[in-house]
């Protein structure tokens, strides 16, 4: 199996490679359009800031390639946010695979304070999709983010940090997780395994 990991200067790709390696899969780190198009599966990782990341995607001419891919595709963290239509993070137009807007977490509700960025392990609510095979309600995954995708019709799992937000998305061949499966211990390894077996 050819698994392409998109290389666009956006953060901790090494961890994704290592996590796949632990599952016996050797990913190919690439920004070559043909390699990406011909891969059996594609992982779109990402850590950092939205507008900078979009600029790198444009620089590598991937902006129009990614939304038209047909193989199973998994966006992670910033990758998921870039798959949406727009991000409030520096008012950035994104890939538009999901017609959704990414917005910033509030730091307060009426009577409680919430830390932003959300850093740490939070629970998956109502996980439903082949991506979450053997994943239970309330299992913990590792999140690091200040911006979030609101709950929506494409949600295949939600989570709560001051408000209920979207923890994972799915439409057609496109999957995405706001959390980092590559850093989410056994739960994360199971999710990556599920993706590989899609």
């Amino acid at each position: 199996m050819q698994l392409a990991i998109i290389d666009y200067n956006a953060g901790n790709v090494q961890s994704v490679l290592f996590a796949l390696e632990r599952l016996g899969i050797k990913g190919i780190l690439t920004n070559d359009i043909d390699t990406i198009k011909n891969a059996d599966k594609v992982i779109f990782p990402g850590v950092g800031e939205a507008s900078t990341a979009m600029n790198y995607l444009k620089k590598y001419n991937l902006e129009d390639v990614l939304p038209n891919l047909t193989q199973p595709f998994l966006g992670i963290c910033l990758g998921m946010q870039l798959m949406c239509k727009h991000s409030d993070e520096n008012d950035t137009d994104c890939l538009g695979i999901f017609d959704l807007n990414v917005t910033k977490f509030p730091t307060h509700t009426d009577n409680q304070k919430f830390k932003v960025p959300q850093i740490g392990w939070n629970q998956l609510e109502n996980p439903k999709s082949p991506l979450f095979k053997n994943i239970k309600e309330g299992d913990y995954a590792y999140f690091v983010h200040s911006f979030y995708v609101p709950k929506n019709d494409f949600s295949i799992a939600n989570s709560t940090h001051s408000l209920e937000y979207c923890a994972a998305l799915h439409r057609d061949n496109f999957y995405a997780t706001q959390f980092h499966p590559e850093k989410s211990a056994k739960v994360g390894a199971q999710i990556l395994k599920n993706f590989i077996e899609l």
């Binding site: 304070k113 959300q118 939070n122 913990y140 590792y142 200040s146 850093k183």
Partner: protein
Amino acid sequence: MLAKRIIPCLDIKDGRTVKGVNFINLRDAGDPVELGQIYADKGADELVFLDITATVEKRKTLVELVKKVAKNINIPFTVGGGIGSIEDVDALLNAGADKISINSAAVRNPNLINDLALEFGSQCVVLGLDTNIIENEWRVVTHGGRKPTPLKTLAWAKEAQERGAGEILLTSMQGDGTKQGFSIDITAQISTHLDIPVIASGGAGTMEHFKTVFQEGKADAALAASIFHFHEIEIQDLKQYLKQENIAIRL
């Protein structure tokens, strides 16, 4: 609900784990990769590796170690110790570190926080803040607590947040190595006044200390070293206990 994090800290010297009382009298507690893996399996939520002898010639050793850790461990980890430049951070993040922690270098050059946040994102910039009571107030200290600075702890923490730090690792020298408990007052002050998460460190001796630092100190995470390394408290037992005490914990 977001869980409170339990973070074992591995102090690294020459590629080995050490932990001293008040940062002096180092004892050897094993191989960092192996220890890290054991902790991950036992349910640690995150790991911190602090290179306490970070010198230029040792930096390559640290990068190699980080790579080994990232290869073997499936939970997030932070690397700190002697980090002073964008190049240092780039090398460590590329080796697979999730976050880096800067301490004395940020005190010397606060713009480093802005530069790192801009280049790599706030989410990977942890401000290591060592603090002690000096002339009846909480002040920032550097060089493992040996050097006092004129900076007030809360003001510096706020400034770091404004400059783009994503998290504060607050080590109280009042507590460090004493096992008498975390410094609750300064932890609560910082956590209440800041929007970013605070990791409390220094003083953990009993399971109750963790409960107190989460409930009264409002810490988002708690860090400890020797009590875990020398099996005085097992992480699984600690997490079970905290869960029973109605603290949000990942089991």
